[in-house]
Symmetry: none
Subunit: 171 residues, 4 copies
């Protein structure tokens, strides 16, 4: 619902109906609409993070590992455009608390560690890792949007963007 109509048009009554439960039941499980949104946000973000680091080989060069993550990340997003779009909306919603944002950052520690290795000797070696992660995330999101908008060039765009990311990280 959020993906198609936007956050503003997602009334609790409509959400409950779509979920096949009654209006009141929604508030049995979520103390408020904000709580529901926060939980949804953390869950989607976690799912995305898990998808990105799934099947990560134990060994391999830093480039190979980042490439692995990059590919899974973008694949998840383009395979789940609704979830991706919902995430984009929730990311900037002011109902999402600081706690949720922090919780999510915890869940992406695995990815952070990998980035850490990749940029350790590169030109961004003195920046906070959180900043580096945000930069890479921003590029990824932009790439994903372009891929969804223009599926025919999706694969090529993903490759070019990965090279750009690698130049950012490793020079």
């Amino acid at each position: 619902m959020i993906a198609s109509k936007g956050l503003g048009a997602a009334a609790t009554a409509a959400i409950a109906k779509e979920a096949g439960v009654s209006n009141g039941s929604l508030f049995v499980y979520f103390v408020s609409k904000a709580a529901l949104l926060n939980e949804l946000y953390v869950q989607l973000k976690t799912e995305m993070g898990d998808a990105a680091v799934a099947d990560l080989p134990a060994a391999g060069s830093a480039r190979e590992l980042v490439r692995h993550i990059w590919t899974r990340w973008l694949r998840w997003a383009t395979s789940n455009p609704d979830k991706r779009r919902t995430l984009a909306q929730l990311e900037v919603a002011d109902e999402i608390t600081l706690e949720s944002h922090q919780l999510v950052r915890e869940g992406q520690r695995r990815m952070a560690e990998l980035m850490e290795r990749s940029r350790a000797t590169g030109p961004m070696k003195d920046e906070p890792i959180s900043f580096v992660l945000l930069i890479v995330g921003a590029i990824a999101d932009t790439t994903i949007d372009a891929m969804i908008r223009d599926p025919d060039s999706a694969s090529a765009r993903s490759d070019v963007a990965f090279e750009a990311v690698w130049r950012v990280l490793a020079g």
Copy 2:
């Protein structure tokens, strides 16, 4: 108001009060709340674009010109954190029409031309210029946020991020 409380909390009554006019007067000048937001969006975006390309020297290497833009751009954003935050909210608001987004894109043609020259021989030479612009914009926004969050390192962060952008564009 939008900057501090978010778009959801910006009721027309509150906006009018803040502006020192009556509720009704607001609708004398803007046909609807959406119209107000769209006009605000276009105006802020135009102001930002103008600030970025102000005092652009007639000659100079592509790198110097992009550096010039980058500096002004980030300076405007960090000097006007409220406007920057408002813009970030409006960018994803669904009240903003396609027309406004297109109008804004027209206004940034100057920047687009410069980017065009910079990436013409680089690794992104075959991508649509709109995609390249979006990538650079995403990096800029992320950098701006970091600069506002941590003003002490703002200057250093801006420099490092510019180098990253240059690597993205020119290899």
Copy 3:
């Protein structure tokens, strides 16, 4: 409320208060104010039509049957001056849709059939039945208003008006 203050003064808030429910509850049962008015119109008009043809004897001359209807019709209207006044307002309200007007016409088919028989050999035999019905309705409404305005002469006026109607129909 409509009867006493007019349609313009019947705010949904006032209607809800009068009905003993909250403002919001009104919109649980009626999708909009227009929907409420339309439903009210159809219901009142149906009630009036039903009252007019109630207890209609199976046999009898055309004149007797029309007289029967005339009497019941005027009795209903004078016994329910509020409903009658409301109906008069709704009849010309532009919130009432074409659908509602047509729906109402269906419901008065019984009356139409009787009129049909009455004017079949009279001077209006070549006019559309809808026109004949409207003429009779206009005379009835005018008579009802006069009866409400001056209750003492109500009975006499009803009789005289019926004779006039009969002259219109049957010559």
Copy 4:
């Protein structure tokens, strides 16, 4: 404006614009919107009444005189459908004061006198003349509406309706 959009959609601002004067000027000449509507009502009704009794021959049978009025009356209404429609709206508007309604009745004394002669020996001789006038007016309005709706049969309908009116009046 009232004719086309209905009374509800005739805002003073729109009326002023249509009239080619400023918003404020309207209130220089009319103390309130209600005053404007009342004046319009009286004026239109007077115009209609005047049109009906224009060129009235000094002599002639009662039937001929009523026929004369009937013809002019319906001609005016069908030639000025906008005015007729406006009048229909104003007739039931609750902004129109009792004074205006009475004023109008004065203006129709000429017509009343004629009706008086026509029904003097007929079956409605004992009814108040105001009631008789209202009945005739109701039939006229219904006929006019039918004529506007179906211009092809307008002439025939006018004739048939006049005969009906005559039967009402003179038996």
